[in-house]
């Protein structure tokens, strides 16, 4: 198989991704944690907040955080954009490559991969999550290649070893690998020993993380009880653009399954669990789109042809790729792609977009504990106002339940909000002007230290 087309399309999307500026709130705290890890080793207790200070923190993304910080040190924000672009290019290349391996028809592979590429767009943030998605796409390729050469599966434990240190989504990869290898062990005699060995090795590999065996529970919160208050953890909504694409992917798979030839049990073993996971939260929707691209590339043409035949229509035949695979051409394409991504990253806007953050309040922030900040601004403050520890930030599970409850109480003016302010000794509020807490505090005489249309910083009288 020639990889030139996947590499070309991957590089194109990688280059396009550099048009998006850095700006996700979580980027900042990930970078701060990466800096902390490089400076003083892996820190297992929180030092960024004043409400959970000294509490044990999750270390499940340490390698990803370090990687992001390393590129930041090397080339500042352009380094971050470059790494993001390379990851996007890798993801797109892997998606199309796997689809092409399954379907053997280049443009159909691109078409089948397109919804997956569109959906991954919502994960093109500068977070370890993007690395997890790249690992997932790589695992799917490994699983496809292993159908013809089972020994390829030996790459899976190594992949999971890296993945488990990058992002908690490795749990999905481990589950998928377990199911597919289990199916292989049941149905394919000669490959049985390899499948069992790979499962055991993969399980063991995931334990080689700073969290040890506890790593297996770190992703449970996201997969089984996603915090619905966070937008990306919300239920997939098909009336939103991303949800519509997700709905179309499900529809495409369902239609293909109904109208095409029968699939193999391994397709069922792979697609059904990933579909369920994708239905749990908006941020998980790309997984099913990525997993289904090879199936669609392989079976959708049959479904279309059968339907057309039924209505007496004749479609032009799309033949399998006749290009002779050439390692040299692939290497040249990869080199050109990397250069293109590198070049676009160099000319990309090198500073993060801070329009959504209270930049104007930084000067007036009181140092030390006592500030209650908007949840979405916590990461920003960790990076840009290190002398003012945050009340809460995007590391949600660190703050569940007591800090989150108190935060909601003050911001939402619950009956005990004044008691929370007194108990926590909250001396300043950095909130959106329309938040009930900000409105009420101003009415009760809190002083406005700084304000704009998007934020207000209030000090207790």
């Amino acid at each position: 198989m020639s990889w030139s087309l996947p590499l070309l399309v991957g590089a194109t999307f990688g280059a396009l991704s550099t048009l998006a500026t850095v700006g996700d709130s979580d980027v900042f705290w990930h970078l701060a944690v990466g800096r902390q890890t490089l400076a003083g080793g892996l820190e297992r207790l929180d030092h960024f907040s004043w409400t959970a200070n000294g509490t044990v923190v999750l270390t499940d993304q340490w390698l990803g955080q370090v990687a992001w910080y390393v590129v930041y040190v090397a080339a500042e924000w352009r380094g971050v954009i470059l790494l993001r672009a390379l990851l996007v290019a890798a993801i797109v290349t892997l998606i199309i490559g796997t689809a092409l391996w399954s379907g053997r028809r280049p443009w159909i592979a691109v078409l089948a991969s397109f919804p997956a590429i569109v959906l991954t767009r919502f994960s093109w943030t500068e977070r370890p999550e993007l690395m997890g998605l790249a690992c997932f796409a790589a695992l799917l390729l490994v699983l496809r290649l292993a159908q013809e050469r089972p020994r390829v599966l030996f790459a899976a434990p190594a992949l999971l070893l890296i993945w488990a240190n990058l992002h908690a989504s490795f749990a999905l990869g481990l589950a998928v690998l377990f199911i597919v290898c289990g199916e292989m062990a049941l149905h394919r005699g000669p490959a049985r020993r390899i499948a069992v060995g790979v499962i055991v090795a993969s399980v063991v590999a995931t334990v080689f993380t700073p969290s040890g065996i506890a790593i297996w529970t770190s992703s449970g919160g996201h997969f089984l009880a996603p915090p619905r208050g966070i937008q990306e953890e919300g239920v997939p909504d098909v009336t939103e653009p991303y949800g519509l694409v997700f709905g179309l992917v499900i529809a495409a798979v369902m239609t293909t399954a109904l109208l095409s030839r029968r699939a193999l049990p391994r397709d069922v073993a792979l697609l059904l669990p990933v579909l369920f996971v994708s239905l749990t939260a908006a941020r998980h929707t790309p997984f099913f789109a990525v997993a289904s691209a090879p199936y669609l590339a392989e079976h959708a043409p049959t479904a279309i042809a059968r339907t057309a035949r039924r209505f007496g229509l004749s479609l032009p035949k799309v033949s399998a790729a006749s290009v002779i695979p050439s390692g040299r051409i692939d290497l040249a394409t990869a080199a050109i792609g990397i250069v293109a991504v590198l070049a676009t990253s160099l000319v990309a806007r090198g500073e993060p977009s801070l329009d959504a953050y209270p930049v104007g309040a930084l000067e007036a922030l009181p140092p030390g504990p006592g500030l209650l900040n908007e949840y979405g601004w916590g990461g920003f403050l960790i990076w840009y106002a290190p002398k003012t520890p945050v009340f809460i930030d995007g590391r949600l599970f660190l703050y569940v339940p007591t800090v989150v409850d108190d935060y909601r109480s003050v911001v939402g003016v619950h009956p005990d909000w004044q008691a929370v302010i007194a108990r926590r000794d909250i001396r300043a509020l950095l909130l959106k002007p329309a938040d009930a807490g900000a409105v009420r505090a101003a009415e009760l005489g809190w002083r406005v230290l700084s304000s704009s249309d998007s934020y207000v910083l209030l000090a207790r009288p």
Binding site: G247, A251, R310, W417
Partner: protein, 463 residues
């Protein structure tokens, strides 16, 4: 005599299983008390129409949109509810509800048995689909859609190609449905799909169904507000009001959502292994989209999926469990039917009003002025406290042009809350004590007129 009796017994015997399951479900459903706030305003609307012998075309229940025109798309359903209430009080409402759910169950079982699906596959499918539908077991006209949708589906699935006398039943069926509830649009869509598939597959023999579909479309305009009706239903489907729980997208981590996901996975999984037919794709895809838009629509997909899942599961699972002999099935069905009839006497005589501010009614009755109430309690107040117009209630559509936004701004304590409170001349509030507005008004010295010891509600009035 003997000739006439034989077909009847044959029909009964053939339907013993659906009848038995429907009777069992009736017994369960009739024992459930009313709990939904919207039931109250539906009853009040129906009662007004029965009393005045005219359609209620404008608001008479609120202080904020009084006199505004609003939809009458459920007029017949509201009258049916009010009629059952007038006949037997809350027990009448429960009996009507249970009857409609039993009708839905009867046809659902028939759908699930298609292709000779054995009972041990069809029964769990029916139970799962009914559990998904539980979210719509509220005493509202949507119950009619719950009953009529599987009836339509069963009829269409069993139609032979070409002309059938059963086609003649469809136009009156749609005439009735259109006047009962806006869900008829889903039915019309399903009918259009069957007609299109019939034309594509059977060519000329699909024409009678297509012609019937056109006739059905025509009769749906025979209602008191032809264009308004379709518009309101369409808005619910295309732009679901997300602030209402039932209009939120399905959450597969809730019990009903998990079952819904199981239906999706079941359809995809069995289709991957066994394939399917064009009709299934044409029918299930739009219903899946609809289901994914709002959890109250999950039921349509699950009911329709049942028809196709059963035969494929039966083909995939080779186990053979014997059917109950007809001689046993029939007496069981009759026994359950008799038990269902008897269970009418166990219907609750009162609704479950624990979630409503019943303890505040006396206090509110003694005062006057503009009352700002919780959205979820509006329907209850319309029925239980007609002398105090509500600020807002579950009919949400009349409130969309401003009042709903203002209500939200008020209870959330947006910066404009003082101005809004004055503009609407609110003199009294009945809110959850957790509401920021209730907290702020207390802090500002509004008097606590009454308060629930359990912390569910508080009545405050201007000092």
């Amino acid at each position: 005599m003997a000739v006439a009796a034989r077909p009847l017994s044959a029909i009964l015997s053939a339907n013993a299983y659906p009848l038995a399951v429907a009777s069992a479900v009736f017994i369960i459903a009739v024992g459930l008390p009313s709990t939904d706030s919207d039931t109250y305003w539906q009853l009040a609307t129906g009662r007004w129409m029965l009393d005045h012998h005219e359609f209620l075309r404008q608001d008479i229940f609120s202080s904020t949109v009084a006199g505004t025109r609003f939809g009458i798309g459920e007029w017949l359903g509201q009258i049916a509810l009010a009629g059952s209430f007038a006949a037997a009080g809350w027990a009448g409402v429960a009996t009507l509800r249970a009857g409609l759910i039993a009708v839905a169950t009867f046809f659902l079982v028939r759908i699930a048995r298609r292709g000779g699906t054995p009972w041990w596959i069809s029964l769990p499918l029916v139970v799962a689909a009914l559990l998904v539908s539980k979210i719509t077991w509220t005493d509202r006209p949507q119950l009619f859609t719950l009953a009529l949708f599987p009836a339509l589906l069963e009829l269409l699935l069993s139609l032979p190609p070409g002309f059938s006398k059963r086609l003649l039943a469809l136009p009156p069926f749609f005439l009735l449905w259109t006047n009962l509830h806006g869900g008829y649009l889903v039915g019309l869509g399903v009918l259009a799909i069957f007609a299109a598939e019939g034309l594509l597959t059977n060519r000329g023999r699909g024409l009678p169904l297509a012609a019937t579909a056109v006739a059905c479309l025509a009769v749906t305009f025979l209602n008191p507000a032809p264009l308004e009706l379709a518009g309101a239903a369409r808005d619910d489907f295309l732009h679901p009001p997300r602030f209402l729980t039932e209009f939120l997208p399905p959450d597969v981590l809730t019990p009903a959502g998990t079952l819904f996901a199981a239906f999706i996975l079941g359809i995809v999984g069995t289709a991957l292994l066994r394939g399917g037919v064009l009709l299934e794709a044409m029918l299930l895809l739009p219903l899946l989209y609809l289901a994914l838009t709002a959890q109250r629509h999950m039921v349509f997909f699950c009911f329709a999926a049942t028809a196709f899942l059963g035969p494929r599961l039966a083909a995939l699972i080779p186990a053979r469990i014997p059917q109950l002999p007809a001689a046993v099935r029939f007496p069981i069905a009759i026994a359950l039917l008799i038990a269902a009839v008897a269970s009418v006497f166990s219907a609750p005589l009162q609704p479950d009003e624990r979630v409503f501010p019943s303890g505040a009614l006396d206090q509110l009755r003694a005062s006057s002025g503009v009352l700002l109430n919780e959205y979820d309690w509006g329907g209850y107040l319309i029925f239980r406290l007609p002398e105090r117009p509500v600020f807002i209630d579950g009919r949400y559509v009349p409130y969309l042009n401003g009042v709903l936004d203002d209500y939200r701004a008020l209870v959330r304590l947006d910066p404009t809350w003082h101005e809004l409170l004055d503009r609407y001349r609110v003199s009294e509030v009945l809110l959850s004590p957790e509401r920021p507005l209730a907290v702020a008004l207390r802090e500002d010295g509004w008097r606590v007129r009454a308060e629930d010891q359990g912390g569910k509600w508080v009545v405050l009035d201007r000092p």
